[in-house]
Symmetry: C2
Amino acid sequence: MNRITLSPRLRTTPFHESTVAAGATDISIYNKMVLPLSFGDLEAEYDRLINGVAIWDVAVERQVQISGPDAHEAAQYFTSRDISNIVEGQGKYVAMCDHDGNILNDPVLMKLSGNRYWFSIADNDMILWCKGIAAEKGWDVEVTEPDVSPLAIQGPKAEDLAADLFGEHVREIKLFRFIETDLDGIPLVLCRSGWSKQGGFELFLQDGSRGNELWDKVVAAGEKYDIGPGAPNHIERVESGLLSYGGDHTPDSNPFEVGMGRYVDTDTDVDYIGKAALQKVVADGGPRRLFVGLNVEGELTEAWPLPERTPVFQNGEQVGTLAAIVHSHRLGRTIGLAQVDRAVVEANETVEVQTPDGNKSATIQELPFL
Amino acid sequence: MNRITLSPRLRTTPFHESTVAAGATDISIYNKMVLPLSFGDLEAEYDRLINGVAIWDVAVERQVQISGPDAHEAAQYFTSRDISNIVEGQGKYVAMCDHDGNILNDPVLMKLSGNRYWFSIADNDMILWCKGIAAEKGWDVEVTEPDVSPLAIQGPKAEDLAADLFGEHVREIKLFRFIETDLDGIPLVLCRSGWSKQGGFELFLQDGSRGNELWDKVVAAGEKYDIGPGAPNHIERVESGLLSYGGDHTPDSNPFEVGMGRYVDTDTDVDYIGKAALQKVVADGGPRRLFVGLNVEGELTEAWPLPERTPVFQNGEQVGTLAAIVHSHRLGRTIGLAQVDRAVVEANETVEVQTPDGNKSATIQELPFL
């Protein structure tokens, strides 16, 4: 049941040959594209991310480009965060919501220029949302998916590698800031970003025909740091409390309920989709649920993601949903991510979670764990 | 590389346990859900579809429900076919296009009542398109994904099975017509439809908690017809010329370029998205490319889908893209589906296709093959 058939409906990435050659064993499908998940040695992949540097094919993180004279107005309208002060070369982690304030995506919004923005999106077809609304608004913008495919280098040695590749000046790039540059003529955007808390960069390749060439150059330069292949890491992301959009929450969640409250501006003059609904959440006393960490009793025997969310109970009543549970190598204990009713969180009460190893007791803590 | 990791971001269907128990070996991901593709015996699965009856878990075919007073106006606006005369209990195969006339999806649109419609969609998040535009239009509608999961019975014996299950009156149901009914209290919509040309029905389960119960009842009743598990069949769909949206065409295709010209109404008073662009295609003399069948020389050694579209050449120049190539059991030869430049099609010229077995000569023919 776990064998997948690739077909033209599911795209491979510009780095596909390289990831096959590097021994990719397990994949997922994300934005209808192949996302390598493991290269057969989960321990080594984790270690590389925490202590060295790993190369990740994250081309599935597609860009929705908004370009044209009305690009800023459109980008703001799609974003539940005031982006009035965003500058060229800056990215911001944002929530995109529907008109009811439910979160649709959690991209990094990047300002390429005054009239060109990228939403670097999680797993759904936000291009449909943006394109349809832009056309109905009559804005003078084009909404497209450009030929842009991120390749990440992540881990504490990623900065040294980036400096070797692009020059010492890249050490000055701040989080979510980026520059347009190239590597031996391969055009790319270099951004300090990535779906880990271990530091690093994403190289947004701007020529899909040169993916394997870029991979090879990065690997060659990374040899001195023992670079190796990896992927968005299930254990590290739980330790770091990073949201997996679409997996970690129920579909009717507002940004406050997935840990993104700090990125929502309700007290602002700018106009965006869902603003009234989110203002009402605040006026009504805040969200009903919170996105929290769980410290779970006992050992975990299963290393892979939960196949689906499972209930969180208290006294036999469901009070939340568990999205992920892992053995944290660094903490030496079992931890999880969950949406839990706010009253239970605020009372700091013990809950019970349904795990592959049976029901277990758990305590609640704020994210991140590390 | 062909091992997939399931996780909460990818949903299983209400029939999941049943398909696992029935021995599903190969899957795809479709609308971020698990689509079983094979049960380990492709020959038997094909034979069952052509000569008997097969049960398919096609719950990935999600419904986008438009409900409310403005539902008809909204459904029409999303559809490049005049649906003025659609009646309750009727479905119509339609194209949904963007404002530039490019096809976004090829659903069956079903009219449940005067103010409730379902788009039974192919693989992308059309709910985002519909929801965003409906909100901006200010229509009095709700756009939702209801708890509805199709289970198909397909093949020449499917009608007998449906009559055994629901009564003789179901033999009178015409293509794409449907009734709301139940099976021993399991609520469903029974529609004469399905992604094959072998006849049959789709049972749109309306209670996701009862999927395995429904599966078991259908299998028990189907025993006398030697029912067995199957899936949308790669060989039969090529023989029948059925479109695989997203796989068979380039993203910039209008409906005329994917074989859906007969379902597009440009000479109509109704208002729909992309109408002006499609009228211009007609005014300019018609589409640039056509969706055609190819008769390919020689034998094919590979039974699985092409992993990606490959070029169609003529005299060394690319004149199209090949989407699928199979050995047709019934025709006893190699056939394919392709988008080819219209001038080449109309001149009825020989082309060359790139296949897993090398380049091969091919002749063009109208679809379907059978």
